[in-house]
Amino acid sequence: MTLPPKDPRPAISRRDLLKTAGAAGAAALIPDAVGAVTEEAPATAPLLAGPMTNLTASETEILSAMVDRLIPTDELGPGALDAGVLQYIDRALSEAESDAAAAYRSGLAALDQYSRYSRGGPFIDLSTVDQDSALIDVQIGAATGAGTGFVGSSASFFNMVKSHTWQGMFGDPKYGGNVDFTGWDLINYPGVRLAVSPEDQRSLEADQLERARRSAYDFGLFE
């Protein structure tokens, strides 16, 4: 059986675009939820990699605080910031999700406006308890309407950020997130394999299958 030749590929692949969009600058430490030390505050401040290319410094601060509440760094271990979710989102906004950049900017501004309007301060300055309650309002659409800053339902903004956060936490590390397999470790995902034998499945069922810590692209087989 002979397969016909493949069609020519576009001159610049999506992967090439990713390469140029990746590799953010040096990591910097910022305090988590500035000025808001509560019993829910994390013991260690999460890492925030360098500035996001698609959002301003203040937008990045708000997004950082939000994703840190979605998947916090806590006594159970690393969270979204440790896993590189911000880098994931930044790369996504440079290419596959570029249409979402405007929704991020307006949504983050609205989240901040809603925090001031309903909780008396900028989102990043709220206690983690107030941040969570504000985010619940945003999630259920209760932050919708005059004075809130949200155009349309606040739920759509929340769902977009949550969806991208989950992708960055639990997706293939190729895209800048899931650093050190943080997300896969959290859910005990045994890792990417191309072939799982009956013996492998039985080992998995006996909790004896070794975790495969690799990206799909480490196989060297895929474009």
Partner: protein
């Protein structure tokens, strides 16, 4: 002016599940076939096990014709149709068989004769009001040899339940008689599948492994399935999923008689003054071509088959090709697969490695396999417990009210439960109705300016009654296997764009109510044929692909055997 190409014997519009099968018997018989495909060749290098790429972005599709033409939809003609979601199908040589679930069922014999059998067993009044359902023009037995052929040509794994009338309790005892076993044994079961099967037996049901267009062992010089877990909307990196781009299409190419033209965007079919189809207009990269042909087969999926006919207006067919009886777009339905049931178990399912075509089926509540005398519906549903877990979707699981779905409490929840949820897939008998149809949207167009398809349709009382009934059965099953939480999806209303879209060019003997005849050729334009589920008048409770492939083979064979009558 389009470039005029040399005449060919047959043009097939679409090299997917159906067109990709039909091309082989035609080419093998010596006919010159041109396969026009909007997409491109893709191969293993494109099929990374990457959930972001497969399930959240746009996969490796280089061409997104379907997406640019995605239908609008509305529940009834009283409302305005809108575009919701994305198009479920993809463009590539092999079409959506590249990333489909590959469940490859035969229909139940009852699905071919719903009207007659319902009247015989319960009385004609039990046909739901407003339904336009008809018996198929032939029965299961007539299609059986084609099912058998395609199961071998494509490669289907499974466990037979009825070989020439001998019932085998390991398989589906409700299936129609098959002439022999599957060419491959079924995909394996996990400990969770064994547990679900045992629970089904405790309930007195008959569990069995489902049939799949996936190699369970080496077949056709390709390896068995690796169970890697990224089969849902993913291509196969080891070529164990038997998509037509690695099965029938290359075999047809090898005859020297099939020419596949990629990136070919077909716009209209041309009709001569005699009312016969003369060829196909298509565009590649901005260049227009006219491909004359003796016979044209449309195999571009239900929405596009209907759309091409409605867009191809001529003096002979002022309302669209083969539409002088007003039947193009009629008898449409999206398979009712909504109203799912999910469950949370107190133990890990170890479901990370597997595929949606691997699992435990129960057909005790499908079709007419149980007495409907005391029910207010006809038909039923196939209960399917499959493997389908990937990290992002697992982390996005329903928390069953036990946690918020983010934050520290959620981290605790997901660490314990990421491998403890299950979602069943329940396909249900869906019937055509007078009020459900496809036509051209009056406002929305594709980038070339041609109207897109508009779906007008909703699930009626019969479908929704099946939905509620099968949810009860599924919950019983989950509870028997130890589920601690069970969640039911809404029964749904409007029919959106579906991967199981039927009708629109329905097949039947009566030209007043059907577009194509029992062989798949137009009642009006004799050298026009239609392939795919657009010819199917009932859905049954099982995936349509194998049936549409068996029908495609049958149509192709009929064309070969009657070439003089059809092509001259």
């Amino acid at each position: 002016m389009p470039t005029q190409l040399g005449e060919t014997d047959v043009v097939i519009v679409g090299m997917g599940a159906a067109g990709g099968v039909a091309a082989y018997p035609l080419a093998e018989a010596g006919l010159n076939v041109v396969g026009l495909e909007a997409g491109t060749w893709l191969d293993q290098r494109d099929f990374a096990p990457d959930e972001i790429r497969n399930n959240y972005r746009d996969w490796p599709m280089l061409v997104k014709k379907t997406e640019l033409e995605r239908p609008t939809s509305r529940a009834t003609s009283a409302t305005t149709a809108t575009r919701v979601g994305s198009h479920p199908m993809m463009n590539a040589v092999g079409g959506t068989t590249l990333h489909y679930w590959a469940q490859s069922w035969r229909l139940n014999p009852w699905d071919f004769s719903v009207v007659t059998e319902t009247a015989r067993r319960y009385g004609a009044s039990r046909i739901p009001a407003g339904s336009t359902v008809e018996d198929w023009p032939f029965g299961y037995d007539e299609l059986e040899p084609y099912y058998d052929r395609v199961e071998r040509e494509v490669g289907i794994s499974g466990q037979a339940g009825n070989v020439r009338g001998d019932i085998d309790s390991r398989g589906n005892r409700f299936e129609g008689p098959r002439q022999r076993e599957f060419p491959m044994p079924p995909l394996r079961w996990t400990a969770f599948h064994d547990r679900m099967a045992a629970a089904a037996r405790t309930l007195g049901w008959s569990p069995f492994p489902g049939p799949a267009a996936v190699n369970s062992e080496a077949y056709d010089n390709r390896p068995g399935c690796g169970y890697h877990g990224f089969c849902n909307k993913g291509g196969c990196p080891v070529n164990a999923k038997n998509a037509t781009h690695i099965t029938t299409i290359p075999r047809a190419v090898d005859t020297g008689n099939l020419k596949v033209v990629t990136r070919a965007h077909v716009t209209t079919l041309e009709v001569g003054s005699d009312g016969r189809v003369s060829g196909v207009n298509y565009v590649v990269g901005g260049n227009e071509y006219f491909q004359p042909a003796r016979v044209v087969l449309v195999a571009s999926y239900t929405y596009e088959n209907v759309r091409l006919l409605l867009l191809s207006k001529s003096r002979a067919y002022p309302d669209g090709l083969s539409n002088n009886h007003g039947q193009v777009g009629r008898h449409y339905f999206s398979h009712y697969t909504g109203g799912g049931v999910g469950a949370l178990f107190p133990y890990d399912l170890k479901a990370w490695y597997g595929l949606p075509a691997q699992g435990v089926a129960v057909d005790d509540w499908a079709d007419d396999n149980f007495d409907h005398s005391d029910h207010d519906f006809i038909g039923g549903g196939n209960l399917w417990v499959m493997s389908d877990r990937r990290p992002i979707s697992a982390a996005g699981m329903n928390t069953y009210g036990r946690s918020r779905n983010w934050g520290s409490s959620w981290k605790r929840f997901i660490r314990e439960n990421s491998d403890r949820s299950h979602g069943s897939y329940i396909q249900k008998t869906t019937l055509p109705y007078e009020d459900n149809y496809l036509d051209l949207d009056p406002q929305v167009t594709d980038p070339l300016g041609f109207p897109v398809i508009r779906i007008t349709g909703r699930y009626m009382d019969n479908e929704r009654a099946i939905g509620a009934f099968t949810q009860d059965r599924m919950e019983e099953w989950y509870r028997e296997a130890g589920a601690v939480e069970v969640n039911r999806g809404g029964l749904g209303n409007a029919m959106g764009a579906s991967t199981h879209a039927y009708g629109g060019t329905r097949m039947g003997d009566d030209a007043e109510t059907n577009v194509v005849d029992r062989w798949g050729f137009s009642h009006e334009a004799p050298n026009l044929g239609a392939l795919g589920a657009s010819v199917m008048g009932t859905s049954g409770a099982h995936n349509p692909t194998l049936t549409s492939q068996a029908l495609a083979w049958r149509t192709a064979e009929h064309l070969v055997d009657n070439w003089g009558d059809i092509a001259e």
